[in-house]
Structure formats: structure tokens, C-alpha cells
């Protein structure tokens, strides 16, 4: 059964108060660092001061003799992971790389790479002990820049990595871990047909997810190996599985309890601390708490890639694109695995291209291993493509929105990377953009307007859900996904809708790994889609059971019972004449009709439905200082069906703000030795409240028929368009195109300084 008819919905589409809200506005909610256990120790990490060095020796003797120190761990305590155990289930991580990212083996590969950890009775003593750990390094040449790392004579990070994706297999190790390629048609022929060709190069800097909660965990390992992990992550099952492999424990011995999570944006889809805390707890026999400080978060956890993006687009005079080509070079950091493939796919996916070619390079360098960041890879490639589209529109003298209407993907379009689109809403976002009042307002001097679009494919995958009818007729629904932005509310809403009961009677819970079946992590904008599908199915099974119980009570066939508005009714006159039974009545008598009423569902959800968005941004540029102010911002997005519209809007607004930060001021700044110069919120400049205007949202609803309520992922696509939207607006304001992020005041002023003399000369 589906619930795609919006008019028939009573709960979905409304805006109730989230079930975990009061806990979070009163300070009761427990996040990663908020838990304690009796006898608990504090763990701290010794980190590399070098960007690239061989570890000659580590001496922990002095640290161990410091009073209050209970355990020290180094790489020697961690098992090597054989090739057949490096991947777990459907999870994408290479666990051998992850293990060596958590604790360096042989070499340190970036400043901040962990080399040892201590547990002590207080944080102060643990800090002191770190200073007593002696590490001897042989410093090696380091490489930070993506193109320099690709050069044949570059210092090599891993001598066992040979570029994958090219034939024949190379014989020399390379920092290019992988080459990916997607092609459609014949780009050379397409470019020959073109009247106008735009060929440009864009660059982006690594940016951090910058969740406000630093990584934190508390791990207790009993002498028999029974383990409890309390931690903040995007997936308790991920924590359990990854930790088990890295420390060499059985999954069944680990119970991972999800703390509330203080933001992740992809950055908490892997582990950093849990294996180290595990080892310290195992060695000390006591629970160990580890909490990163902000500097550690910046130095040693995943930013996303800095990159070079080369874009070539050819078009006829009428605006029809004849060919498009992108070459993307992404930093992966210390281990392979940048999101370059998604960058290749997503940049071009917005358009109907007769001929297309995209090539991506996954490039190692002496930076922290990148981690997923909201629509991983997509914003980088799209910054290039959407900026180039604007440049093309300018060159052709066609309105940028019109150019997108001409070339935008529609149902039936075959995307450059393969799939043929069905049920997509890109054109609808363009229609809504065209109709929006924002476009009708006029601009003042030094003000400009930009538009840009974006795509993200969203994810489905494994989810479990349980729905329990309690004795008093209230309902408990258990999901397996950490609630990172209000998903408890949407889960409870879908269950309430299916059962026909008030939202307030449904209490959602995020279960630990022993309380609910396996569920993949919260990520890929998958929870409302896949988790929602699972809870809906569980609730539907409960409805079937409720009908059965009514049938038993009435002594008629279950087929003769229908469930409507939270009550069982005889289905028509033939079924007999009975007073309807509501959920409470059936629950109260469940012991007499067969026992507890519950359902648990496990699925591998497919058909997530792609997400498209178009954004409008107005800026004002101070031409004397280069400062850019965001005057007005409107985000238009196909959201499928907004289950809880406020939280959908919130995802769109949050994505925009992160994108604005990426566009204007956020960047990793390294010195010549490969040391991070801005590992704090003072100089890693995320937008503050006074930097932003209100962010208008337009939720276009093109229901996804593969989801019972029509939902599609909404959380990631809103970070894809902003960088180009801002760049396009700046170009409109001052007539200068910025192709390098961030478009910080010095860069804007330098760009203005370059063109102003030319302009004056021309006048």
C-alpha cells in the first residue's frame, strides 16, 4: 500500500514537535562526551608533528611509569588485517586503510596522524604522559598539492599502490590511486559541432564538515571480551563492525550504543577513537573515555578533498550543448578514497548531453584522509560545471536559467554515467525558480545575482525497524539509524499515519546494536527513505496483526476486517455488526488474542530517487575590500514528499550555509612543512549568524513512487549549488569571474585589481 495521495494524509506533511526536542533544549540529551562509567579513565592520543615521516622507534616506558597512567597503546597492539577481511558487508571503507589511519603503521602520513595513545586517571595526567612518549622520526619529503602529487617524480606515499583503472596495470607505484571514467557519445565530434566552446579550470580547497561536537566515545572491555561502546557516530553498526575488525574482536561481543550525535555531515561515518579506546580499556581493565579537542578534529579527521576541476562545454548558438567534458583531480589524503567518482557523475548529471566524457583522478597526498562530506564530491565538480554553464550563458547571450531549461535533464534523459532518468523533478525546480519573486527584485550597484543547479543521487540500502504496540495502546518504534537532524520525528509520523493514531502516542527510539537488526549508517540522505520504508512496512505488518486480533475477538475472518483511522471495522455488512475496536482496546486484550503485537522488518531499500535543486543567490561586493555579503538566498529543491516540512527546510537551509562557507571563507591553510595553520574555529571560518540572511526555501514535491510516502533524500543536494551560485552572483556584481575557492576578500580584491586597470584603459 502506498500513501502518495497527499490530500489523504493526516500526519505526514504536518509539523509536530520532535519527540527528542525537549531533551535537547534543556540540556538533558546525552552526546558522545556526556557519559561516564565507574572507574573510568581518560584516553589521549600522541600525534605526529610531521607531514610525512618514517617511525624509527617509539618508547613508552617513561609514560607508563608516570603515576596515574594505566595503559599505553601503539601500533604493535593492533592486528594486521588480511585482504579478505578488509571489507565488511556492503560498507564502503577499506578497513586496513582505516586501521592505519586510526594508528599509523611504519610511517606517519600527515601532521596529526596518531602514533600512540595513553589512558590515565585524569585528562591532565594523560596529557602529561603524552609528552613522555618518545618517538623518533626520519622525516621524509611531503607532498600536499594534488597536481604536484600526480607528477612522476613526486614523493610516493605508499609503495604498494599502483594506479587502478588503467590498462595495462602500471609497474611503478603512484600517488594516483585510481582513475575513473564515464563516457557517452563522441565528445570530439560534439565539440566540432559547437559554435561556442568554454574551457575553464577551477580549484577548490579542502574544507571540513565542522560539526560542532568533537568525536567522543566511552569503551568498556571486560576480561572475557564483552564490550560496550558508547559513542557519537553516524552508525552504531558501523562502529561495531569497523572496531571489531580493527581490534580483532568478534562482532557479537560488541554492543554499540548510539549517543546523540552533534553533527556529522558524513564525517562520522568512520571511526577514529573507538579502536584506540578499546585497546586502552582492554589493557587497563577499565572503561576509557576519549574526547577529541577541536585541534585534533581539524588536524586528523576528514575534511573533503581539495581539487582541480577542468571543464569544457561546447554549444550551438541556440544554447543546445553539443558536448561536455570534465577532468577532476581530487585529493584523497593519506589513503585512497576521495569522492572523485561522485564528482564526475554529479556535475554532468544535471544535463541532457548528447556527448560527454568525464575523467577523475583519486590522488594521495600528505593530508588527513578525506571523509565523506555532505553529497561527497558533488559540490566540487558542480562548482566547475555550474560556473562554466554561467560563463557559457554569458558567452552565448542567453539567460542562465534559460540555458538550463534548454539542456536540463528530464524523464527519459540518459545520463552521461549511464542511467535513464525516471520520475525526476529537475525541470520543476527550474519552473519554480522562474516563478519565484526573488528573480523579480532589482539589484543596486555592486550587487549581483547568480543561479546554479545541483544533483545528488541519494542512497537506499540496509535498514531495520521494529514497531511494538504497548499494553496501553501507545506505540514504540525502534530504528537502527542515529537521528542526526530530526529523523525520529519523521519515523514516528510515518508510523502514526499508517496506524491511524495520533503522532504523540508513537515514541521513536534509536536502538543499540543489540536492540534492533543491522542498519547501515545515517548518510547518503538515506534515513527518511530507507528507514522510513522499513518503519512503514513494520507498521503495516502491525496493522495486519491488529486486524487479525479484531477478527479473533469478533470470531470472523481477518479478511472481513478493515483498518481505518486507527480502528478495526467489520468490512461491510456481510462481515457482521460489531462496534469498532481501536488500537488501545485491541492492545489491552492482546494476551487473550495471541500475545504481544509487534513487527520487525529488515530491508535493503532500492529506488531512492535522485534529488535536484536550483538556487538563487544575491550578493553585494565591497570593491575596496573584496568582502562579499550574501543579501538574499533562495533554495528550490525537489524533495519528493516532505514528511516533516520544517526539517526538510532545515536541511536545505543548513546545506546552503555550509555551501556559503565553502564559497567564501572556509579552507585548510598549511605551512611549507605541511602543518595546518588554522586548526580552530577562529581561523577556519564557518559562517556565523550575522553572516547569513534568512534562507528562503521552495519545496517542489515530485513524489518518488518507490517510497510509500513519495520521499526522496533531501539532506545533501542543497550543498551542491551554493559555491557556483555565489561565484555567478559575484561575476554578475563586479564583472569578474572567480574560479578559485574560497572567494575570500583578498582573492576578490586581487581579481578586481587585475581587471580594473584593463577596464580603465578600455574606457
Amino acid at each position: 500500500m502506498s500513501y502518495l495521495d497527499k490530500d489523504a494524509l493526516k500526519v505526514v506533511g504536518t509539523r509536530p514537535i520532535r519527540p527528542d526536542g525537549v531533551d535537547k533544549v534543556t540540556g538533558r540529551a546525552n552526546f558522545g562526551a556526556d557519559m561516564t562509567m565507574p572507574g573510568m579513565l581518560w584516553g589521549k592520543i600522541k600525534r605526529s608533528p610531521h607531514a610525512h615521516a618514517r617511525i624509527v622507534s617509539i618508547n613508552t616506558d617513561k609514560a607508563l611509569t608516570l603515576p596515574g597512567v594505566k595503559a599505553v597503546t601503539t601500533r604493535a597492539d593492533f592486528p594486521d588485517i588480511p585482504p579478505e577481511k578488509r571489507v565488511l558487508g556492503a560498507a564502503p571503507a577499506n578497513l586496513w586503510d582505516l586501521s592505519r589511519n586510526c594508528m599509523a603503521k611504519g610511517k606517519v602520513l600527515y601532521e596529526g596522524h596518531a602514533v600512540a595513545a595513553v589512558a590515565a586517571v585524569s585528562p591532565a595526567i594523560a596529557e602529561q604522559a603524552l609528552d613522555l612518549i618518545e618517538v623518533e622520526y626520519e622525516v621524509l619529503p611531503h607532498i600536499m598539492d594534488v597536481e604536484a602529487a600526480m607528477a612522476p617524480d613526486a614523493p610516493i606515499l605508499h609503495d604498494d599502490i599502483f594506479t587502478a583503472g588503467i590498462e595495462p596495470r602500471p609497474t611503478k607505484p603512484s600517488n594516483i590511486a585510481k582513475v575513473v571514467r564515464f563516457a557517452k557519445g563522441d565528445v570530439e565530434a560534439g565539440f566540432r559541432e559547437a559554435d561556442v566552446i568554454i574551457e575553464r579550470r577551477y580549484t577548490t580547497k579542502p574544507v571540513h564538515q565542522a560539526y560542532i561536537e568533537p568525536h567522543a566515545c566511552l569503551v568498556s572491555v571486560a576480561p572475557d571480551g564483552q564490550t560496550t561502546i558508547w559513542s557519537s557516530s553516524q552508525g552504531q553498526f558501523m562502529v561495531r563492525g569497523y572496531t571489531s575488525r580493527i581490534v580483532g574482536a568478534d562482532i557479537a561481543n560488541i554492543r554499540a550504543i548510539p549517543a546523540e550525535i552533534g553533527g556529522g555531515f558524513g564525517g562520522k561515518t568512520i571511526v577514529y577513537l573507538e579502536p584506540l579506546a578499546y585497546m586502552l580499556s582492554k589493557k587497563s581493565g577499565r572503561p576509557v573515555k576519549m574526547v577529541m579537542n577541536r585541534e585534533e578534529v581539524f588536524r586528523a579527521t576528514g575534511p573533503t578533498s581539495g581539487a582541480v576541476v577542468e571543464v569544457k562545454i561546447g554549444a550551438k548558438k541556440d544554447g543546445r550543448i553539443t558536448a561536455a567534458q570534465t577532468v577532476l583531480k581530487y585529493q584523497s589524503g593519506a589513503f585512497p578514497g576521495s569522492p572523485v567518482q561522485q564528482g564526475c557523475i554529479c556535475g554532468l548529471a544535471v544535463y541532457d548531453l548528447p556527448n560527454a566524457l568525464t575523467i577523475g583522478y583519486d590522488v594521495l597526498c600528505n593530508r588527513p584522509k578525506v571523509a565523506a562530506y555532505r553529497a561527497p564530491g558533488a559540490p566540487i565538480g558542480s562548482f566547475g560545471v555550474e560556473s562554466a554553464m554561467d560563463e557559457l550563458a554569458h558567452e552565448l547571450g542567453i539567460d542562465p536559467l534559460k540555458l538550463r531549461e534548454i539542456n536540463g535533464a528530464k524523464n527519459g534523459t540518459k545520463a552521461a554515467h549511464g542511467p535513464t532518468w525516471v520520475n525526476i523533478g529537475y525541470q520543476q525546480t527550474l519552473e519554480a525558480t522562474k516563478a519565484h519573486a526573488h528573480l523579480k527584485t532589482s539589484l543596486g550597484p555592486n550587487q549581483g545575482r547568480g543561479i546554479a543547479s545541483g544533483y545528488w543521487h541519494n542512497a537506499g540500502g540496509e535498514s531495520s525497524a521494529a514497531c511494538h504496540v504497548n499494553e496501553d495502546g501507545t506505540v514504540t518504534v525502534t530504528e537502527g539509524h542515529p537521528d542526526i537532524g530530526g529523523s525520529r520525528a519523521s519515523m514516528a509520523m510515518m508510523v502514526a499515519e499508517v496506524l491511524g493514531v495520533p503522532f504523540e502516542t508513537v515514541r521513536p527510539v534509536v536502538g543499540d546494536t543489540t536492540a534492533i537488526g543491522f542498519s547501515a549508517s545515517t548518510g547518503g540522505s538515506r534515513v527518511t527513505f530507507a528507514g522510513g520504508m522499513a518503519v512503514t512496512q513494520a507498521a503495516q505488518k502491525v496493522v495486519e496483526e491488529l486486524k487479525k486480533r479484531a477478527a479473533i475477538t469478533w470470531d470472523i475472518s481477518p479478511d472481513a476486517v478493515e483498518w481505518k483511522d486507527g480502528k478495526a471495522y467489520p468490512a461491510g455488512a456481510n462481515a457482521g455488526s460489531f462496534e469498532p475496536l481501536d488500537l488501545t482496546a485491541i492492545a489491552g486484550k492482546s494476551a487473550r488474542t495471541g500475545g504481544p503485537i509487534s513487527a520487525e522488518v529488515q530491508i535493503n531499500a532500492q529506488g531512492q530517487g535522485p534529488g535536484f535543486a536550483t538556487h538563487i543567490c544575491d550578493v553585494e561586493v565591497d570593491k575596496e575590500t573584496g568582502q562579499v555579503k550574501i543579501l538574499r538566498y533562495t533554495a528550490i529543491q525537489d524533495v519528493g514528499r516532505a514528511i516533516h516540512p520544517s526539517y526538510v527546510e532545515g536541511q536545505m537551509q543548513g546545506g546552503v550555509a555550509q555551501g556559503v562557507g565553502w564559497a567564501l571563507n572556509e579552507e585548510y591553510i598549511y605551512d611549507k612543512d605541511g602543518k595546518l595553520e588554522n586548526p580552530g574555529f577562529l581561523d577556519y571560518r564557518v559562517p556565523v549568524a550575522s553572516d547569513m540572511p534568512m534562507i528562503e526555501t521552495v519545496m517542489v514535491e515530485v513524489p518518488n513512487p518507490r517510497h510509500p510516502f513519495g520521499a526522496r533524500g533531501v539532506g545533501e543536494v542543497p550543498i551542491v549549488p551554493p559555491m557556483a551560485a555565489v561565484a555567478n552572483a559575484i561575476a554578475d556584481a563586479i564583472g569578474v569571474r572567480l574560479r578559485d575557492l574560497p572567494m575570500s576578500p583578498p582573492r576578490v580584491l586581487a581579481a578586481l585589481d587585475q581587471v580594473e586597470p584593463m577596464r580603465q584603459a578600455a574606457e
Binding site: Q128, T625, E677, F681, D691, P745, A750
Partner: protein, 289 residues
């Protein structure tokens, strides 16, 4: 920090004894918004922290003998809430008010901002421009020094061991005198100044400048009093030619570095821009009096 001590004396003499007493580093604590960050990061490892806020007079603003006397540990919120002072020296209040967030304003003090000895300190240029002085207590008694004599380099002050600033004295403005402080930061809040500029001017009845002080921050190892900029203003109205001379003088006075917050070229250029903009504000304010 195995041997750190914390004390909160209630007299100046006691504080001096505690600051001068030990062999190791002793730090006076007023707002702590820089000190605690340095302590936490391990950049500073003092042996003693002496909280000076419980000494009477160290917090508060009073008017005496034609001057404002500001207790060294007075937090920013008290400064901006003092209507008479804000009216007298809007530029000083602007500068102090720009130090960090509202939370920081609840603690951060003029003395702390000065003695942290950052070239980018926001409250310092306007204080120097107003010819403010400070009273310093130490083992040899009290002495007075102009604000510009305190910072001698990044992170370094002229204070001797055991010395700390007790209060600031700011003269009351003359007729047609006023000031302004502007800084440039990449965001709208929460950043360290890339360039800061305090301008203090006195005008005659016709809007012609008779006295001026222009002070730049974040463009050299210490704050810079730009004599040429003052010369460019004195004897002139703020017209296009004066502005150009002021801009050029400000740029010439810059000896900045390129770092994570700005380049030499950028800082130099923006110093000229801010000098013009701050002068415009200061002239308007002075003219309105």
C-alpha cells in the same frame, strides 16, 4: 601543569607580591579570554595565576579630574553600557566591542587585550589615538605610561616582572573632538582583525582639522601611530585630496606580513581604505558636536 597555583588577592600590593614572588611565570588574570586559550593549548605554562578582579577599583569606570578612569579588568559589556564614556569616545567603545563575541564581551578587558600584545588587538588603536595612559603597579610602586609604550612586539610587553596594569586614564574630549575605530575581518564577527584603524580628530568650527591621531593595527609588529596620516588631516577638511593623502600615508606606514589572515598587499591596501572610512566617521562625529 603540575605546579600551577591560583590566587585571588583583594589588594594591589598583595597582587604584586604574588606576581613578583615566584621564580616561574606568573600571569595576572582579568577576563582570561586569551590567557585560558593559551593555557589550554600549552602555549603558555605559568606557575601562578593571579586573579585581579577582586581588587576594588579593578572593575568599573569612574570620572575624576576631567578624565575617565577605567579599571583594568572592566569587561567590554560594562564599557559599552557606560553612556557617558560611549558618548565621549565612541571609537574606543567600538574597538573594545569588536573583541570577540557577546560571550567574550562578558569577560574581555582593555588590560588583557593590551597585554596579550597582539598587533591585531581591537581596543588598542583607538586608545592610543585618544592618548590614553595606564597606571601600572609593581614591586617599585606605581608608574604611568602611555598606552603605546606597553606593547613592544608580538606577545611582548614592556611590563617588568611583578607589574600589572591597574587602570587606564582617558582624557575627556575637547569640543569638536571625536574618534572612530574600524577593522576589517573576512566574516562579520568572530575574526581577528586583518587590519584595524583608529582615528581621533579635533576640528575647528569650520570643520577644519586642528589635531589628529591615526593608529593602525595588524600591519606591523605593534600598533603604528601614523604621523604622516595625522599631518595629512591637520589643516584640512576631509575632501578628496585629503583622503588621498591619508590613504597614501596609511599605506606607507604598513610593514605587514603575509599570514593565514591576509597578505602584505591586501593589508596595505585595506589600511588605506580603513583610514579613509574611519576618518570619515570621526569627522562626522566631531563635526556634529
Amino acid at each position: 601543569m603540575p605546579n600551577l597555583s591560583f590566587t585571588a588577592p583583594t589588594t594591589v600590593d598583595e597582587a604584586v607580591r604574588m606576581l613578583a614572588g615566584g621564580a616561574g611565570l606568573a600571569k595576572p588574570l582579568s577576563g582570561g579570554t586569551d590567557l585560558l586559550v593559551q593555557l589550554r593549548s600549552g602555549r603558555m605554562r605559568p606557575e601562578a595565576i593571579v586573579d585581579i578582579k577582586r581588587i576594588p577599583g579593578l572593575i568599573g569606570i569612574r570620572e575624576e579630574a576631567g578624565e575617565f578612569v577605567i579599571g583594568a579588568a572592566t569587561p567590554g559589556v560594562m564599557l559599552s553600557a557606560h553612556k557617558a564614556f560611549e558618548h565621549a569616545w565612541p571609537g574606543i567603545v567600538e574597538g573594545a566591542d569588536l573583541i570577540g563575541s557577546q560571550q567574550i564581551q562578558g569577560r574581555a578587558s582593555l588590560a588583557g587585550n593590551l597585554c596579550n600584545a597582539s598587533p591585531a588587538a581591537d581596543s588598542v588603536p583607538a586608545m592610543i589615538a585618544a592618548r590614553a595612559t595606564c597606571v601600572i603597579a609593581g614591586p617599585n610602586g606605581r608608574r604611568t605610561a602611555p598606552v603605546e609604550a606597553i606593547v613592544i612586539g608580538p606577545g611582548r610587553t614592556s611590563l617588568e616582572k611583578g607589574e600589572f596594569i591597574v587602570e587606564f586614564h582617558v582624557p575627556k574630549p575637547k569640543p569638536h573632538q571625536s574618534d572612530a575605530y574600524l577593522r576589517f575581518i573576512p566574516r562579520t564577527e568572530m575574526d581577528i582583525a586583518v587590519v584595524g584603524c583608529g582615528v581621533n580628530v579635533t576640528l575647528d568650527g569650520n570643520g577644519v582639522c586642528t589635531d589628529a591621531r591615526v593608529v593602525l593595527g595588524a600591519v606591523a609588529p605593534t600598533q603604528v601611530i601614523v604621523e604622516d596620516a595625522a599631518k595629512a588631516l591637520i589643516g584640512h577638511r576631509l575632501d578628496e585630496i585629503t583622503n588621498a593623502a591619508l590613504d597614501a600615508a596609511a599605506q606607507r606606514a604598513c610593514k605587514p606580513i603575509t599570514d593565514k589572515r591576509g597578505t602584505i598587499e591586501y593589508r596595505t591596501k585595506v589600511a588605506g581604505v580603513l583610514a579613509r572610512r574611519a576618518a570619515k566617521l570621526a569627522f562626522e562625529r566631531a563635526g556634529a558636536r
